[in-house]
Amino acid sequence: MGNFFPRWTNLVPLKILFAAFLVATGLAAAVATYWTKGYSAVGYQPDQPIPFDHSLHAGQLGMDCRYCHSHVERSSHANVPNAQTCWNCHSQIKTNSEKLVPLRAAMDESFAGYTGKPIEWVKIHKLGDYAYFNHSVHVNRGVSCVSCHGKINEMKVVWQDKSQTMGWCLDCHRNPATALRPLDQVTNLDWKAEETDRSSFYAALAHQTGLKVEDLEKRAQQRGFETTGALTQKEIGSQLKEAWGVHPPESCSACHR
């Protein structure tokens, strides 16, 4: 009997150790990179050419989202407004503001720095090129802006509020009741399910579906909701999902084409 293990095996444990060290380091680095909020770009808050203040316009002044993002109900894109939209007011208001120079450069022919070049806004929410999101189908079926963009009406400078990863999308597509709200509240970012009046909600739903309020309430009870006290998002959502026949797609081809 000679040596059972050949000579070259002497170094094998060392090699294994070294390899394991490399793998562990790699894993640690990967976790540190990919398992952080930073990777999904939450909090991305770039400087814009004009420091447009959503908290002032949408918050204090109470402008509807759709005044500027005018095609959100018709198109896949929620368009960033044309300079003309800003100019509608700002040709009169705050005309001399330093902050509005890019706007005047684009629109005001009497302005010394006039170039006529459109404003280049920095994109905040970036979706992979292989994913196709459609705004119109969401806002027309009771998903509020706030569900994906957060409380824009309180942001001075907009940041990305949600991770907008595929898992995050699917969470909602699998449980749409967590996001549905009456259609007239879609652009009301301050809407709270708990503050909604129970009787008027049910009355409106009964009117729309042609069902009796009792039947609707029975439906809620069957699902384990108490039909007294304050409404909850879950109760509203599940009622609306049922009433509108909401079945969000979960197939790959819904978003990847």
Binding site: P46, S75, H77, N79, N82, R141, W244
Partner: protein
Amino acid sequence: MKRKWHHPEAGAESGTRMYWRGFDELQDTPEFREWLEREFPRGAAEVSGPEADESTRRNFLKYMGASASLAGLGLAGCRRPDQFIIPFNKHVEDQIPGRPLYYSSARPVADGCVPLVVTTFEGRPTKVEGNRLHPEWKGGSDVFTQASILDLYDPDRSAVFRKEGEVLDGDRFVEEFEKGFLAPFRAAKGAKSALLVGASTSPTRERLLAELVKACPAVKVYEYEPLSSPGRREAENRLWGAGISALPVLDKADRILSLDADFLGLDPQGEGSNGRWAARRKPGKGMARLYVVEPAFTVTGGMADHRMRLASSQVVKLAVLLAEQLGLAAQVAPLVAKLGLVRELIDPAWVKECAADLLSKKGRSVVLVGSRQPLEVHLIAGLINQALGAIQGAGGPLRLVRHGRKALPGIEALADAIRSGAVENVVVTTPCDPLYDAPASAKWGEASAKLKNLVHLGVRHHATARAATWHIPGAHYLESWGDVRSISGVLSIVQPMIQPRFGGWSELHLLAKMLPVAPAAPGEAAGGADDAAYVAVRATFAGLVKGDVELAWGLALRDGFSKGTGYPVVAPAATPAAIGFESFPLVDFPGPDAIEVVLTPSSHVWDGRFINNSWLQEVPDPISKLTWDNAALMSLATADALGVTHDGQMIAIKGGDGVVVEVPAFRLPGQADFTILVELGYGQEAAGRVGEGTGFNVYPLLRQEGAFIVSGAKAERTGAKYALAPTAIHWSMEGRAIVRENTAEAYEEFVVNGHGEDWKNFSYNQGMDGHIPPNIPLYEGPDYFRPNQEQKGAPLQGRFTVDENHQWGMTIDLNTCIGCNACTIACQAENNIPVVGKEQVINGREMHWIRMDRYFSSPREKEGMTAQRVYVPEGRGRPAHDDDSVEMLTQPVACVHCEYAPCETVCPVNATVHSDDGLNSMAYNRCIGTRYCANNCPYKARRFNYFDYNKRRTRDFYLGPLAPAEGLGMTSLKLQKNPNVTVRMRGVIEKCTYCVQRLQAAKIEAKAKARDSRDVKVPTGSVTTACQDACPSQAITFGNLRDEKDPVVKLKEDPRNYDLLKYIGTRPRTSYLARVRNPNPKMPGAEQVGQGSIGGH
């Protein structure tokens, strides 16, 4: 339970016909087995090629290492780059970012137009589709129209103004052109000047030319298109009178005889003819019958019920014999006298029975003649048509319309005028390239060199453009205002979708500039009022319509045509007494010493104008399946006589006046012996990067205008070889009962007469499918294919989420599919499918999602074949086929969306999965490129991106990862891409998606509209696939299987419906409707027609 199917041995000796796609397959050569047995051909998986040395795997790893370390060192990887959203300053009317805008327009062609609806995204046109509202066309388009959009983005198109070859910027050119040419032209009232225009039906062009001639009376106008038909023009003149055309209306025809007329393919006659013809090919009572006489297979010949192969030059003899049978012997007497003994060489029984059949449907039968046929054949056919009662005002299968256009003199007359010194300045606006394609008799090269000023306006910078004194980049039809009449006269407005990309001018713009005074503006300052073409078109329009012009204009733009503008239908004039056949020489049958060469339009490049269009170059020819080249097509007997043993062997063809051209040989069945067919348009020197070095120029064989049939040519092998890239045996399905056909008689027996109690006996259970046990489902779920009554309305249940409202399905009707490739190109345009180049096609890597299979079928039985008719390849001892009774079928195959898809079960990363609406979908971003799915796909429908086809030019494929990825020009092509479809990268599989972007858009539209209601079902018929839209004969039907009203549901219950490879249990969503041929039982050989797949397995 593990299921393993043993496919039956293909081609067992039963059934009456064999189906095959190439001689290699028929003879089962080792090369063919090689193609067959590998999922991808040998070498396809290895990185090898012309520059293989620098791109071995080892090098690849090295590059990878280098790029990885660069990525680590560079800072770019740490922070994601900012992207910008740049909205317009002011809103653009109707423009909603993210939504397509559709405009009506039309693509002008020589004698009419193809009415279109153009899709634009944010101002860039991406796709054209037939206009379904058009009263004569009713939708559909053709392969050239589908591909024409790529020309708009061709990076090699003419982009700069040039004076004597020197590039000038636009303003300077205008100044110098005015000074150097226009001012002297006007001052001299057009003396010694001429225009050479292309064929067009634009009323504005006609008006501007008339105005120009009025203002400058000395100017002469000539017209030139290489693919004109002087024979037909002259015959119409003599038979019906000047300015009158005969227009086939094929939905009124019960019997059609085509004399060398590829009216469904490259020799279109009438308008919407494919659709009209298809409407009469529904099996059952009233199915039309098609006789075709032709020298080589065309798509029309493939659809024939009875086909005779006959050399083009001999068609006149058949026409004479036919006229004789129809009682017109007196009129054709001078030719009858010359026939002599020849008549026996054309099967008399064929002619007799065909004539009898035509006559039996008097008033409902029509004879069509090919454009390349000489005057005499057109005249005889005219007489026959009159004798058959085909012409009866608006009701008959042939309609005479008065277009009233004056025939213009041709290029030969112009060349003569130049040589005589009468013309010194020529303005060339014809869309072709006279220096390259003019007939030899014109001696155009020599003539045009004498010119003082040669002004050329055109989209391409081809030979003529390079020789021009003044070259003006032309505007594509999608960039300019214009108008055009369809063949029957219906007026359409050509709308610009985009500003001319390189500031090019349209023909109308140039003509308007040549006029001394600008034509009167219609008084409104609409956008584009400064555009001379727009002003001119509006002015013409105002003169053409009655009543409210503004309203009519708006309607014309909206609908894509203007109502009531068709040409008037006229009654036939009396037949002229003397037709004058006396002088027509009859040519002997071609033989080994007197080969006949037929020059045909190309299915790729037409007359040469699409030479730089990569989509057209790469789409396999409908018959030969060749890509990227033309070849000398010949029968096996001809090949034997010339000593051609392999495709691609070069032969030298010696034509008239001793001209010699060299072309590679390619053998095809069903072709008249000693006839060689070659496509025109290839071998251009000034072609652009795509067309450079493709094919061989055979225009030198064209000695005179319209002389496409070259008799008495010699041909011999040169000894050289050339690599052709045919795709005929790529992606083969091994001869299983894929393509099925039967006869109208059998159909009536089963369906109409009620004898067929079990519908499955018709085509559903042909082949192995008749023997399969009931399917043992691996998954649960209803059978959408043939839902029984209780399943139809019932909610869908299964283990998976299922869309209650939508389950998509498709049927493809082999009875009307002619194999024209329009769907393949439409799919390419819609789905951002790349081209791969000739080399990669040879490697079997073409990317077309729709593979257009072309099958030949030939009788299996050996008795009844005479020795001459059977070709026995040397040394193989097995009769290959009978050239006289060979038939052709085509079958488009894309992913059939199996409900139990074999590809899905083998994907290790779930990149291909089923969707809730029944699609077999691909998530490209998940795909890691194992290609297991392609390996497991029984339909061979999956394509793999071996290279970054979308990022690199073909010649850069093999460069390493560090090489600059984006070649010049790729940016321009990007503008064509559909923004709703992912552009795939290297290393992923792709395949037909049923145009999922359109399905999703329709579903989203329905949901957004539904708001708080439950009504989210997509309305019936509101969603179409790109292939369906493009199909000129409506062979493709797509729809929702959950919608009772959807036409696709009805078609799925048609007796002709069958699934591909049903016996393997994949339950495909795309099914096929079997071909039904309608043979005349009295014709010779009728018992063979359409008998092919019956009982075969």
